[in-house]
């Protein structure tokens, strides 16, 4: 088990290098340069100034050299400085990452808490009115553009009802609040972003859970459990769910990149200073070091998420955990 884990961990390195290479290329091949933002609006800037700036950022060198330099700094855990405000990328990311992780963890939790029961309930009451209603709801969820739903919710809760803030993570008067009030204020700001981040995942996972549960309920061992005279509660929760949840673990691992991608949208809409917003702004101003920094961290989180899911799966499924197979 340990060797398996170490091998998996070791395998992450080439994967990470490969992903960083591709993203580096894509970003640099995209039209527009960091210097454009600073220079384009100002007609008077001469060509010399532009060249000087490019030299300063190291943009005049060939791409492979740029990549090698970037990589050699990366192994020393140095992501470089932002082109825009010249602060270390590492600091910028560490400022932004807590709020993003908080939103993502809460929305993951929300997804699990709602989607799993919906899926299980739909499966148990397969083809009833509830099940069909949920199917409709889920497809609406799939189809609805997140940003549009976010705007609707902002209008309803923020403008019409006036009960929730529509942007940022703290109120203007935050400094004057007591500790408890600060906490409440923080939660109130996070509520809508968390709901929005959770919404699409909710639809997918509940659907997946339903299929998995229906599949399990048709297995022979469920018939055995019934034949033993067990109460339904025990059949569903102990016998069926312990099997039906196994594939969901893998799905959760795979949903990590979606969550990170999703926070770009949610954070931009709600003006939340998180990784997503940082990434969005960096892309808009072609701030290469920041873009690459966020991508590397995002990749790392995704890979670690997958690895964690695989490990959790092998712990949850005795057929994999105990390994040996007899007759």
């Amino acid at each position: 088990m340990l060797t398996y884990f170490l091998r998996r961990l070791f395998m992450l390195i080439p994967l990470l290098i490969g992903i960083s290479l591709i993203s580096f290329l894509v970003i640099h091949l995209a039209p527009g340069k960091p210097t454009d933002v600073q220079l384009q609006l100002n007609q008077k800037v001469s060509l010399q100034v532009r060249e000087r700036l490019e030299k300063l950022y190291g943009l005049d060198e060939p791409l492979p050299v740029q990549y090698a330099k970037w990589l050699s700094r990366l192994v020393r855990l140095d992501f470089g400085n932002s082109f825009i405000d010249n602060r270390p990328v590492m600091t910028m990311i560490s400022e932004r990452i807590p709020v993003t992780l908080t939103i993502n963890l809460f929305s993951l939790l929300l997804i699990l808490l709602i989607a799993v029961p919906i899926g299980v309930f739909s499966a148990v009451h397969e083809d009833t009115f509830f099940d069909r209603a949920m199917t409709v709801f889920v497809f609406i969820g799939f189809a609805m553009p997140t940003f549009w739903l976010a705007l609707l919710l902002m209008k309803f809760f923020g403008v019409t009802l006036h009960c929730l803030p529509v942007s940022g993570i703290r109120s203007i008067s935050f400094e004057y609040y007591s500790g408890w009030e600060k906490f409440i204020d923080y939660l109130r700001h996070l509520l809508l972003p968390v709901i929005i981040s959770a919404f699409t995942g909710l639809a997918g996972l509940s659907r997946y859970m339903r299929t998995s549960m229906i599949n399990v309920l048709h297995q022979d061992y469920i018939r055995t459990a019934k034949a033993k005279g067990l109460p339904q509660r025990r059949i569903y929760f102990r016998h069926a769910m312990s099997n039906a949840l196994l594939p969901v673990i893998t799905l959760l691992g795979l949903s990590v990149p979606g969550l990170i991608g999703g926070s770009v949208i949610a954070e931009s809409i709600f003006a939340i200073p998180g990784m997503g917003k940082l990434f969005y702004d960096a892309v808009m101003s072609r701030d290469y070091p920041v873009i690459m920094g966020v991508l590397v961290i995002g990749t790392l989180l995704t890979l670690v998420g997958n690895l964690a899911a695989d490990l959790a799966y092998s712990f949850a499924d005795p057929r994999i955990r105990t390994g040996e197979q007899s007759g």
């Binding site: 061992y221 055995t224 034949a227 033993k228 109460p231 005795p318 105990t322 040996e324």
Partner: protein, 324 residues
């Protein structure tokens, strides 16, 4: 003890009704073994599942008939009451031991939940020892260690023994064994059959034994019901049926066997064709398209079960007897 009368289990769909079990009647006395034989898809399993209403889908229902078990009609018993009988008075052993045990729960837990539910007389502290004792009794060696195992760590034979132990811990009055040996190899098969015989002797449990292997049935059962296309086509004492099968279908089953019956011929006979699917039964006798002795009447009218000598019952126009 068990008296099934005129049992009809049908699948009800929006546009059609499919009979899986059609007018099946049989009875089982205390401590005896009834063998039920027939090809795959002729309604044996559906009959077995109907007894405690373990039917596979919402569309499948007992349409008619009674299943009187120790004076109580299970067919009309509310689900809640019936559940209390499952596992305690009536237990099942299924065909596929590999898939019939929950893969993520230890043997120990799967045994314990039955004891917890139905054997309140066994104190919590004694449960572990009791489980080991029960597993040893059905012939599992090293049971102390095996209880901690997950199903995939046991062999097929061991899994089926666990299933049997699990079915027997509650000392049921009726054990329904649905092709318990089909998925096992021949030596294990023989051991399991001996085990079932021992259990019958020891606990006086009645067994409904389902198999497609007429030899196994002949060896084990007191009475035999031969099923075809959802109906019983022949019903007799085992010894009588083995000696003198009367329905052409039963005769056909024997002729398919290697061994004594086939010795005189150089090659095995094969029953041509296959069991018609429920819902597309032919008119008249359901066996007539495959019957070597078919004549006009068979194609038009369905024969009823008729009693012959020695209480042998046959559903065939070849024989006349008193109708039941």
């Amino acid at each position: 003890m068990l008296e099934v009368k005129n049992l009809k289990t049908y699948f009800f769909y929006d546009d059609k009704i499919i009979p899986a079990v059609d007018e099946v009647s049989f009875s089982l006395e205390e401590g005896s073994i009834l063998g039920m034989v027939g090809e795959s898809g002729c309604g044996k399993t559906m009959t077995a599942l109907s007894i405690t209403r373990l039917l596979p889908s919402r569309n499948c229902k007992i349409a008619e008939g009674s299943i009187v078990f120790n004076g109580i009609d299970l067919a009309s018993l509310p689900e809640d009451e019936l559940r209390k009988k499952r596992g305690s008075e009536i237990s099942y052993v299924f065909q596929e031991p590999a898939t019939s045990l929950n893969p993520v729960l230890r043997i120990e837990e799967q045994m314990k939940e039955v004891i917890f539910l139905h054997r309140k007389d066994i104190a919590a502290a004694k449960r572990d020892a009791f489980i080991v004792e029960q597993l040893t009794e059905v012939g599992i060696r090293n049971a102390q260690k095996k209880v901690k195992c997950f199903p995939h760590q046991l062999s097929g034979g061991e899994k089926q023994r666990v299933m049997i132990a699990m079915a027997m811990v509650t000392r049921p009055k009726l054990l329904i064994a649905d092709e318990p040996t089909t998925a096992l190899d021949v030596t294990i098969q023989a051991q399991i059959i001996v085990l079932l015989q021992e259990l019958r002797q020891k606990f006086g449990v009645s067994i409904l034994f389902i198999s497609h292997d007429i030899n196994v049935i002949g060896e084990l059962a007191d009475c035999v019901a031969v099923m075809y296309a959802g109906q019983i086509v022949e019903y007799a004492k085992a010894e009588r049926l083995m000696r003198q099968p009367q329905h052409p279908y039963t005769q056909g089953l024997f002729e398919c066997l290697p061994g004594a019956w086939a010795v005189k011929r150089s090659r095995l006979n094969v029953l041509c064709g296959e069991v018609p699917k429920a819902g597309c039964f032919p008119q008249g006798c359901r066996f007539h398209p495959r019957c070597p002795k078919v004549f006009d009447r068979c194609r038009k009218e369905m024969p009823a079960l008729a009693r012959q000598k020695e209480n042998q019952e046959v559903r065939c126009w070849l024989y006349s007897g008193s109708e039941i």
